[in-house]
């Protein structure tokens, strides 16, 4: 484990965007994360793969401080976000997360969903926030939906709005939690295309996914989670072609048998 961590200072190019050290998390007596060490460099795209219950979603929720952790430290840039007395609201502003179930605000129009946090958190005026939101929606082909309520949109459109909503806060790190798992198969592609576009634009992303083909395309690095640990990590070609660990091999065999790769 690295030493001297936690010394606050300007982020040098070598400082990773995200660094996790010895992260442990249990729900009651059930250990979910059992010592996660992981670093994500600026502009890097890291995909987390693994069976349901292996801890992928919990890991993402811990990084966004939506869960209290039991042990370990998490750094964003050079700042330890798990330090005691940290202002969690300030930290979350810079870390976007998109959930499997979209979680759009059903009582707000699409443009209001996107503009809410810029208005209330960053103090933008309504007109500024909404015109910025409209510009973002336009960029992702959603301008014609801006005045609709979320329940008028397809699942794919809702998930794209959720991504735009996270982007409106200009996060330095984007967490994607199985964002296509709740979608009908024909709607998956439009969401994955958006994420590909973000990767091409240099967005730093940590992505939990069941879409192995997508992970192979987009990831700079793939981590295989098993029972709360990162069992194996490496370049996608290496992980998918010649996994070293027996468990990784068995997981990928099952995925191939299910036609997901």
């Amino acid at each position: 484990m690295t030493t001297g961590a936690g010394t606050a200072g300007p982020a040098s190019p070598a400082t990773p965007a995200l660094r996790i050290e010895g992260l442990h998390k249990s729900f009651g007596s059930l250990p979910v994360l059992r010592g996660i060490d992981l670093a994500v460099a600026e502009h890097e795209v890291v995909c987390l793969i693994g069976a349901s219950g292996s801890g992928k979603s919990t890991l993402l929720r811990c990084v966004n401080l939506l869960e209290d952790i039991d042990a370990g430290r998490i750094f964003v840039g050079s700042e330890e976000i798990t330090a005691p007395k940290i202002d969690v609201d300030r930290i979350r502003r810079h870390i976007g997360i998109v959930f499997q179930s979209y979680n759009l605000f059903p009582h707000l129009r699409v443009v209001e969903n996107v503009a809410l946090a810029p208005r209330r958190v960053l103090g933008r005026s309504r007109t500024t926030a909404e015109s910025e939101a409209l510009a973002l929606l336009e960029r992702f082909g959603l301008a014609d939906k801006a005045r609709d309520y979320p329940d008028r949109l397809s699942g794919g459109q809702q998930q794209r709005v959720a991504i735009v909503r996270a982007l409106a806060m200009s996060p330095r790190l984007l967490l994607l939690d199985e964002v296509t798992s709740a979608l009908d198969p024909e709607l998956v592609a439009e969401v994955l295309d958006v994420i590909r576009g973000l990767a091409a634009g240099g967005m730093t992303m940590l992505i939990a996914t069941h879409e192995m083909g997508f992970a192979r395309d987009i990831a700079d690095r793939v981590c295989f989670l098993d029972a709360g640990r990162i069992l194996e990590e490496g370049a996608p070609d290496r992980i998918f072609r010649e996994p070293r660990e027996e468990r990784t091999r068995r997981f990928l065999d099952r995925v191939i048998a299910a036609g997901r790769l």
Partner: protein, 292 residues
């Protein structure tokens, strides 16, 4: 119209599209027959009821005491005139109840062990004012507080009636709000917090707007109750619609003015009850449309 089973069965066997159209036609035919049955049974039921009442040995006296057209129409203008007191009471109390009820509900929903005393106090308040009969609270405040004789404390019974109704109904209304708050899925708050909103902002901009919208029908239901309970102010000396009728009854020994009061409340409440039903039906339609 054919009511026999034969044609329907043939329809069912040969009907073109599966399910829908045939079943719909069948249901409509049955509902045509149902309404005839409903009409006949209604006429028979109320006919028998009317016969039983008007045939009763004391009917003549009761009719004179309660259904005297002279006293009824004679009292109506004055009764309606004093209804304004109840309307004022209702409007002022309703605004205060909506505010205080929301504050209580939010206090009871606060998380964390440090705030336990606040939750405890709010819970005690809600339990207490749901336990005491409303007329006792009105008596205690309306007579008790002015009776203390403290200089500077207002003695207007109308004011204390407003306070009493607010205390009583805010306890009920806070429970309605709380049910609404708890019906909002935690993922909504998580989404708001993940964007950097504080807990208070998430409550204010994400949870409460959805919760309040969801509980509008039960809130209106509570306000139907409040409308009627405004007559309790007559117990502490406010001359409202009920007290007016009481005065007239005492002067004439005839109860017909009370029927005028009942008529006024019926005319007020029926439209509100229909609005509640309409809102509930609309919410159900929306929920099924969203789940589609």
């Amino acid at each position: 119209m054919s009511l026999g089973p034969g044609p329907s069965d043939v329809d069912l066997l040969t009907g073109g599209l599966p399910g829908g159209p045939v079943r719909f036609r069948r249901r409509r035919r049955f509902s045509g027959r149902s309404s005839i049955v409903a009409a006949v049974s209604t006429v028979v039921f109320f006919g028998l009821l009317a016969a039983a009442i008007t045939g009763a040995p004391g009917w003549a006296q009761v009719q004179r005491a309660f259904l005297n057209p002279t006293f009824f129409w004679g009292s109506l203008p004055d009764v309606v005139g004093h209804f304004w007191v109840n309307v004022q009471l209702f409007l002022v109390a309703e605004v205060l109840i909506l505010g205080l009820g929301l504050v209580l509900a939010v206090l009871r929903s606060l998380p964390g062990p440090v705030l336990f005393p606040i939750r405890l106090l709010a819970t005690f308040y809600v339990d207490l004012f749901r336990a005491i009969p409303g007329v006792l609270v009105i008596y205690m405040l309306g007579f008790g507080i002015p009776g203390l004789g403290i200089a500077g404390i207002p003695v207007d019974p109308f004011l204390w009636a407003v306070v009493a109704l607010t205390l009583l109904y805010s306890a009920y209304v806070s429970e309605v709000y709380r049910a609404g708050i708890e019906s909002i899925h935690p993922s909504q708050e998580a989404a708001a917090r993940s964007l950097g909103l504080t807990r208070a902002q998430a409550l204010r901009f994400v949870v409460l707007p959805q919760a309040v919208r969801r509980v509008i029908p039960p809130l209106l239901n509570d306000f139907i109750g409040l409308q009627k309970d405004t007559v309790l102010v007559s117990f502490v000396g406010v001359v409202d619609i009920f007290r007016t009728a009481q005065i007239k009854q005492a002067a004439t020994f005839n109860f017909s003015p009370y029927l005028a009061v009942a008529l006024v409340f019926i005319l007020m409440t029926f439209p509100l009850a229909r609005v509640v039903d309409w809102l509930v039906a609309r919410d159900r339609r929306r929920a099924s449309a969203a789940a589609r």
